[in-house]
Structures are given as C-alpha cells and as structure tokens.
C-alpha cells in the first residue's frame, strides 16, 4: 500500500524531498526481543504507516499482533482475506484484546505494510489495513487484513508482538508519518 498522496516521478537523479512522508522511528532487532514498541508518537501527521520484515524465533506459523496506547482489553476487531497457495479464505476476529496484522513463519522472513488511518482524529475510532505474508518456496501465506480499535483516543503508542516467541535477529520495523 503506497500512501494516498501525490508522489512525483522524475527522471532527475538525486534526492527530491517529499516532505509529506517522514520517517519517525526504526527498530532493528540485534538480539531477539518479545515485542517492539513505538512510543510518544506525535499527533502532527494525518496517517501512520509501519513497514517491516520479521521472523519469529518460535517454529511454525505465528501471528503478528498489535495493541494501541497500551489497551489490552477486548476493543479490537479484525477481518481478513488470505491465500495459502491452495485456498482463498475469509475470516474475522471479533472483540479481541489485540488487532491482527499478518502471519509469519519461523522458517523464513516475512514482510508487511500496515496503514493506521486518521490516527489522531478523536472524533472516530481508529482503523487499520495491512498487506503482509511470507513465502517458503512450497508453502506460505499472503494476507489482506483490516483492523478496528474501538477507541477515539489519538494513537500515541503502538506495541507489536507475536503469538508465540520473539522477533528474531534482523527483524526490522519502521514507523512513518504521512502528512495530510
């Protein structure tokens, strides 16, 4: 998912600044960690985007979750369409204590792009969308997911974690702000 902004395409080499899309924070795992957090997120952007690669230390498939503002109560909904190489499947997760981002495997790195839309607007609940997955050369998943946090507070903290185990070395998550 690319940000919904006008992006210049130019034949000019070098670095043309596109100030609407800014890097806020990046976490690169050097020693396995159980969670990755982005804190003190300024309310000065219109949307947020998290981009990353990761691999669980636990064997097998693991879900990547997040919570917002430290809220671990049953305030989240998620829906998904995914493919596992054999079937396309739709499913939902209602009133959970975290939102679902993507599904990874302990065998190989996967990736994702997640948008948190209108995150600082206190007139509405927060919605998210994610593209993510992994391929293992004979197995794997590709997922499209949407999420809802039933709280109108501006998002100031994002905590990401796996259903089991830790983020392995070389996992990297980066938070970007998109101005509107």
């Amino acid at each position: 998912m690319t940000p919904m902004l006008g992006i210049m395409a130019s034949q000019i080499s070098g670095h043309l600044s596109i100030p609407a899309y800014e890097s806020i924070s990046t976490v690169t795992v050097s020693t396995a960690v159980s969670s990755i957090s982005f804190t003190s997120i300024p309310a000065t952007y219109k949307h947020l985007q998290i981009r990353g690669i990761g691999k669980p230390t636990a064997a097998g498939g693991q879900e990547l979750y997040f919570t917002l503002n430290g809220d671990t109560t049953s305030n989240y909904y998620s829906h998904q369409l995914y493919g596992n190489g054999a079937s396309a499947v739709a499913a939902s997760y209602g009133t959970t204590s975290n939102a679902y981002i993507t599904y990874w495997s302990g065998s190989e790195f996967g990736s994702f792009v997640c948008d948190i839309l209108d995150y600082s607007n206190t007139n509405k609940n927060t919605t998210t969308r994610a593209l993510g997955g992994h391929d293992l050369n004979g197995s794997g998943y590709i997922l499209l997911r949407s999420g809802l946090w039933m709280n109108t507070s501006a998002v100031s903290t994002i905590n990401l974690f796996l259903s089991s185990g830790n983020f392995a070395q070389y996992s990297q998550l980066a938070l970007y702000g998109i101005k509107g």
């Binding site: 995914y82 993510g132 391929d135 990297q172």
Partner: protein, 164 residues
C-alpha cells in the same frame, strides 16, 4: 530534512519493448517500491519480473486473488521468474496496475521478501508474497513480457524509502 520517499527512476515507454530494467539501484535505502501501469501490444501475456539478472530457480510466490466470480490461491516454487498477475495477463486497452514492495532489499543477512497488490477493473484483483532465496542486495529489477511486448504508454516508477 533528509528525503524519506524518493523517486529514483521512471520509465514511460515511447515505443514498445519486451523488457524494462531498473539497474545500478543504490543500496542506500531501506525499502524499494515499484508502481507499474502496463499495456501489451498484443494478446494477453503474463508479465514477470526477476532480480539482479538472476534466472536461476531461486524464486517462489504465493497469491490470493479474485476475478469477480471466483477466488483463487496458488503458488509457484523453484521458479526462474516471478509473476505479476495470476489468472489474467495484460491486454492492449485496459492498463494493469500494481505496486510491489521490496522490504529491506539491501540487507545481505536475509533472503529477500516482497509483497505486491495488483488489479485491473475488468479482470482481476489480488496480492502476492514473494521470496528470492538470495542474500544479495537487489541492484537490478527486470520486468518482462515473455510472449509479447509492453505497449507505448506503459509506465514503471521506482521509489526508495529511507527509514530513520
């Protein structure tokens, strides 16, 4: 402020050609994003791409997609190319559009994992997860149409994203 989302190169075809290449890609970004809008000169060919001019069987992909009446999921393993679409190919009138994300493309400690979303209104919408089983940094991307050519007006744009 340092540039975060940078256009690196754009190709807009003024004549048909079978391959579009981004080469000598700098390793100084965190991620790459390619945005394509493609037409073919004839038929309904299936467009593909490969990395670093590598045609060995190091590519694999998993897809989910729908065509308005049916959903699909499939995969290819040990492939010499990666697919840009699944059940439908390009055509000569309706542009196929897609975005490919190359996460951590220059990280030489990991295999390369990529994601795409593709669509065209008259035929298909879906997504891919890809794996390129090489730890080499990606410095070249080739987009090809094996049984036809890309038509005039097809566009390919490469962006670099730099994290803090």
């Amino acid at each position: 402020m340092a540039s975060t989302y940078t256009p690196i190169a754009t190709t807009t075809l003024s004549s048909s050609q079978s391959t579009v290449t981004f080469s000598s890609i700098s390793g100084s970004y965190t991620d790459l994003v390619v945005v394509c809008s493609m037409l073919a000169t004839s038929g309904t060919p299936g467009p593909t791409f490969k990395l670093n001019n590598d045609s060995s069987s190091l590519y694999s992909e998993t897809t989910v997609n729908g065509n308005g009446s049916t959903t699909y999921s499939g995969r290819n393993s040990n492939a010499s190319l990666m697919s840009l679409y699944w059940t439908a190919g390009l055509n000569t009138t309706d542009p196929r559009v897609l975005t490919i994300h190359f996460q951590n493309y220059a990280n030489t400690s990991v295999y390369k994992t990529m994601l795409s979303r593709f669509s065209f209104p008259s035929g298909e919408v879906g997504a891919f997860a890809y794996l390129y089983r090489s730890t080499s940094a990606i410095n070249r991307i080739d987009f090809s149409v094996p049984t036809s050519t890309y038509a005039v007006g097809s566009t390919f744009t490469l962006y670099g994203i730099l994290s803090a």
